[in-house]
């Protein structure tokens, strides 16, 4: 912990004032010529609140992208209705490359969850590239009976009418993972919704509910401290932050594969040259050692260069819209 001198304090206060100026400046819009892009600051819409996992990931990537592009990537949090408010705003923005959207898996689940969605995730956007795929972990209260993931599977199947599963609300990542998990195990358990991950985790640590599936961003601290029991991670490979935790495939459930994938989007009419510039810059950012380190702290990693492309991103988006559409409508019908 380095003590900051008086000058540093002044610098921070200056930065505070500077940010106001930046925000004022970036609202004035940018030039029109794609060849000159970017000439002005770029607004990155994050459809979730500041400080959340998606916001954190965005800021990590925005920093090196700003350096690479030579203009500031200014993060704007437009929170609300499961990310559909921010995404709707981005869809309606000028297609000049000065408004980009960072969204996660919710981009693919929104059509099924919100029948009157104001935009089409595929038709109204161009993809820039994937950013990261945050792994999820299957965890339970510390005194929950099963010891291993195999035990857990049998236990849940045998006691489906008594076990309870927490999630952070309709459409949240933990809700999606829970749906996939119970579908793969062929069981229906009592799902207990909470208003966000914080309350859900609190009640799980307090032993009020039995299990939950949530992002490593939220669970790693509690797992390493032994406050919750961890069974498996939902990625093909084990993860660096929790090396002892087996994958679902290792434990005989290869179908339970889910990550909270994040990607960058621009409005559909944005010129291809501009998309290419952004994709290149994203790839530079994802190779940055600081980004790799910061993401490792969250239990995740940047995607490979081939994944950080519009092609890979579109493919995943379309595939996921299909997958989740089925799972969600099945759960709503049943």
């Amino acid at each position: 912990m380095t003590p900051a001198g008086p000058r540093k304090v002044a610098a921070y206060i200056g930065a505070l004032a500077g940010l106001g100026l930046i925000l004022a400046a970036c609202s004035s819009g940018g030039g029109a010529d794609p060849a000159e892009y970017p000439e002005d600051n770029i607004e990155v819409i994050v459809p979730f609140s500041a400080g959340g996992p998606t916001d954190t990931v965005t800021r990590m990537v925005a920093e090196p992208m700003s350096q690479d592009l030579g203009v500031q990537m200014v993060v704007q949090n437009v929170d609300g209705a499961g990310g559909t408010v921010g995404a709707g705003q981005a869809a309606a923005a000028e297609p000049d490359g000065y408004t980009v959207l960072m969204h996660h898996i919710g981009m693919s689940t929104a059509p099924a969850l919100y029948p009157d969605l104001a935009y089409d995730p595929v038709a109204d956007f161009k993809t820039v590239g994937l950013v990261t795929e945050v792994p999820m972990t299957i965890i339970a209260r510390s005194d929950f009976e099963p010891e291993t993931f195999e035990d857990f599977v049998t236990y849940v199947q045998e006691n489906a009418d008594t076990v309870t599963m927490a999630h952070a609300g309709e459409g949240s990542a933990s809700n999606l993972c829970g749906l996939l998990l119970t579908e793969a195990l062929g069981v229906e358990v009592t799902a207990v919704p909470y208003d966000g991950t914080g309350p859900a985790m609190t009640e799980l640590v307090g032993g009020q509910v039995d299990f939950m599936c949530d992002q490593t961003t939220n669970t790693t601290g509690q797992i390493t401290a032994g406050k919750v029991k961890a069974y498996a991670v939902t990625t093909p490979e084990r993860i660096e932050a929790l090396p002892d935790l087996p994958t679902t495939a290792e434990a005989g459930q290869p179908d339970i594969q889910v990550t909270v994938w994040h990607g960058l989007y621009v409005p559909a009419e944005t010129p291809d040259e501009i998309v290419a510039t952004l994709t290149e810059s994203l790839q530079v950012a994802l190779a940055d050692q600081t980004v790799i380190d910061q993401m490792a702290d969250l239990g995740t990693a940047p995607v490979s260069e081939e994944q950080a492309t519009p092609e890979a991103h579109t493919e995943l988006l379309e595939e996921q819209i299909g997958t989740w559409g089925e799972i969600i409508s099945a759960s709503q019908g049943g």
């Binding site: 003590p3 304090v9 206060i13 930065a15 207990v192 609190t202 640590v205």
Partner: protein, 502 residues
Amino acid sequence: MDLLDNLALGFSQALQWHNIMFCLLGVVLGTAVGVLPGIGPTATIALLLPITFGFDDPTSALIMLAGIYYGAQYGGSTTAILLNLPGESSAAVTAIDGHEMARSGRAGVALAVAALGSFVAGTVATVVLAVAAPPLAQAALSFGAAEYFSLVVLGLIGSIALASGSMLKALAMIVLGILLGTLGQDLYTGTPRFTFGVRELYQGLSFVALAVGVFGIAEILRNLHDPRTRTRMVSRVANLWPTRAELRRIVAPVIRATGLGSLLGVLPGGGHVLASYASYAVEKRVSRNPREFGHGAIEGVAGPESANNAAAQTSFIPLLTLGLPAHPVMALMVGAFIIQGITPGPDVMIEQPALVWGLIASMWVGNVLLVLLNLPLIGLWVRMLTVPYSVLFPIIVVFACIGTYSLGQNPYDVLAVAFFGLLGFVLIRAGCEPAPLLLGFVLGPLLEENLRRALLISRGDPSVFFTRPISGVLLGLALVALVVTVLPTIRRKRDVVFAEEE
């Protein structure tokens, strides 16, 4: 001794002069947003969080953000007292008696008492944080859905005390509040309720719009309707400082409220919301002159303000000891931790003692700064009331609208302010008080959410509310509170009957 070592470590961090500066910056910003109606601490912290990402000392970042939070709790009482404009749920309680005091020329006293009570509560809560955080946090974890439901029931029954007039009208207001609270998307099924297809209503009504409407705008309408009330306010801006007798009156309420607030603040499921209401109900109950409540009782300002500040500080306990955020502001703090490369979790206190203890110590420093900052400002605030009302009230309306709009950039919220302003005026004319309505609005969703959650977990078996010990005790207390509230009314009625017979 561990505690002294820890506190020494904490103060060695908090008293570094750059950290004092950040603390000051935080509490000044917090006071400012607390004073401005509408712009609450959550929005401010969300706005300023990104700036702290550039700090290379995470302690400074957290000290500043925490300062904004409890600074705003402090500042929120100012507009509630002066203009009957509560910016958040706890200030709505302060407005009841605080604004009555202002109307009778005692605005300065009310502000001073709020500041002093908050300071005492803040100091005690800092000690509670330092001494008892881990066991309190562990105890709070035994609060599940059933316990929260019973706690809210107790809170709602106790809150009948919020009204100084008819009990039946108070009950009606609570029910109306609960009904208004059901608006928006249902947490459990995602089904929109009472939204009439308006997308802006999916997130429910904005608390600020409702509070600003039924308190602030309704108050303006009332003043315009009856000019006598406001001339009285302006003509008698007399004593700024509480008398010795008044100070003596608030000692016990402040101590009780601090204890109550500290305990409720630890509960991660929304206990801090209850703190000021609970304190008001308790003070009214134990007071020797309960009739003064609602007409400018000094205890009705001192108690809730102290409880609120104590709860604001102890609500850090679940975050610091367990890594679990108790409410949205704490969730933003988690974001600050993560960005600074600290994994929030139960180990934070062991792995980052300098940070955690520095933050705890900074809260006391912040409370000192707040008192130093706020006491001299009282004279200035009170002078504001001498501005001619024809100039003042349009300014209030404009500020209220801008503040409410800026919260969610949602034009419907401004319409809601206007609607609830009118409704509030009608209610005042009908002898119904807005405070129980707001409480119902705040607690209604908590009541419903926890009732449904408890029944989900118990598979529809309602006996959990009685068989779980904490829940059972709370419901028992609620029953006692109900009997105590209802009995005098019944007896009075009986006396009336007897009197007629004679």
